[in-house]
Symmetry: C2
Subunit: 248 residues, 2 copies
């Protein structure tokens, strides 16, 4: 995965030479962060977006000393900072969960890119839209599902997102999250997350250790959590009508 942006965009549409060149321009530098470091913090000037090139990151917001919300986890080829796109200062915090390398690019270059390629613009909109859909699923989970359903649902989400990146591994994935992360993601206490995970293991639905999760009974997890992967679905379902361009 040397060119994340191209990889990401071509997931949604076919790219010609010019479009690839435009995307390559964006991805000029690389920056590394160690696990736990802050990539950007609330209040920082927000003039760059990042593409996650390697590792895991997450988007969060800290209210009180002991009150944190994690909105989402960012995997390979995901954008970091997209949620603050239109703001001059970051509204949220962005942390490296593992060691990461990111490609920063100035937000102001986006405008030029959109001018030159409406197609890329629309794919960008599509990506924004997908992120919104993921966020809405989280609201459903936190607001209306029980603890164990939330955990099951989130594991299924991770499994799908992981297998879209690495199609060969469709039931196992890395799992660098701690119970605290899980709790803040799902609106639970870390000890209750632990109990829920244990129950899933006891039922024989999953196995896991500190670093990896393996899905054993996907069907059970799907039915118990009401998981429906449309919101992460393959491009043919997601291409918006605006995207019907004649290939010039």
């Amino acid at each position: 995965m040397t060119h994340c942006l191209i990889h990401k965009f071509s997931y949604y549409t076919d790219l010609n030479k010019d479009e690839r060149a435009l995307l390559l321009q964006l991805e000029d530098r690389k920056i590394s962060y160690k696990a736990g470091e802050c990539i950007a913090a609330k209040g920082d000037p927000c003039d760059h977006l990042y593409i996650l090139h390697d590792g895991w990151a997450y988007v969060s917001s800290t209210l009180d000393v002991k009150l944190r919300s994690i909105f989402d986890v960012r995997l390979n080829a995901d954008f970091v900072g997209l949620s603050d796109l239109a703001f001059q200062h970051h509204l949220h915090d962005f942390y490296a969960l593992t060691n990461v390398v990111v490609c920063p690019f100035p937000k102001k270059n986006l405008g030029a890119m959109f001018d030159q390629s409406p197609k890329l613009r629309d794919v960008f909109l599509l990506i924004l839209s997908r992120e919104q859909a993921i966020a809405k699923e989280r609201v459903i989970s936190i607001g209306r599902r029980t603890a164990i359903e939330r955990v099951a649902h989130f594991l299924m989400e991770l499994n799908v997102r992981h297998s879209l990146l690495y199609p060969s591994e469709d039931t196992v994935f890395d799992f660098p999250l701690t119970l605290d992360h899980m709790g803040d993601l799902l609106g639970l206490s870390p000890v209750h997350v632990s109990r829920s995970m244990s129950m899933l293991k006891e039922n024989g639905y999953i196995t896991y250790n500190r670093t990896r999760v393996k899905i054993l009974q996907m069907d059970k997890l799907i039915t118990m959590s009401g998981f429906n992967p449309v919101f992460l679905e393959k491009p043919e379902r997601m291409i918006p009508q605006e995207l019907e361009y004649a290939e010039a």
Copy 2:
């Protein structure tokens, strides 16, 4: 408020004649729905967006017969259907909460509009971004705040959104939501919402009846709920760098 789109966009930027004309083209028809009617349902083909011209609407998703999540409430001049922008079929349900009138316009016209005016395109991105920020605040509320804090926070959000529309009324606003709506919005049971509202009234922070809410002690509500209006803030804070155009 005869031209909602123009009103909405000029909240974020100054519009010249051409831009106004472009926006007017979108707003050609009007459709009315009675309170409770469905404007668009999950699975319906998604080829139109709507601007809410009058009344309240909401975005929701129904899981089980007795499990519903409401993601957001839509007020005057808000978009309806934006969250499914990039999908060919709706992912969510859109209901009229009161009698409403909406202006539909075909999604495919957006592309042409963006081609003709990068400025409008960027304002559109900005609006999308603001909606995401509202969604994130909801995640924080549901995941990490107590029942009474959630209610207080939501009332403050409504108060700010209302007063942006009607600056003369800055502590009173219409309130057509039932306890069921509130519960599904905030991840609570309707009876617990009732208790929370009663407590806010007993404390002297608010008064309310079936149709209106009045804020009595805004400072108390703000501190107790950790409300911070940046995520709804005035345009000068929100204009993204891409928006710095020379007025042609």
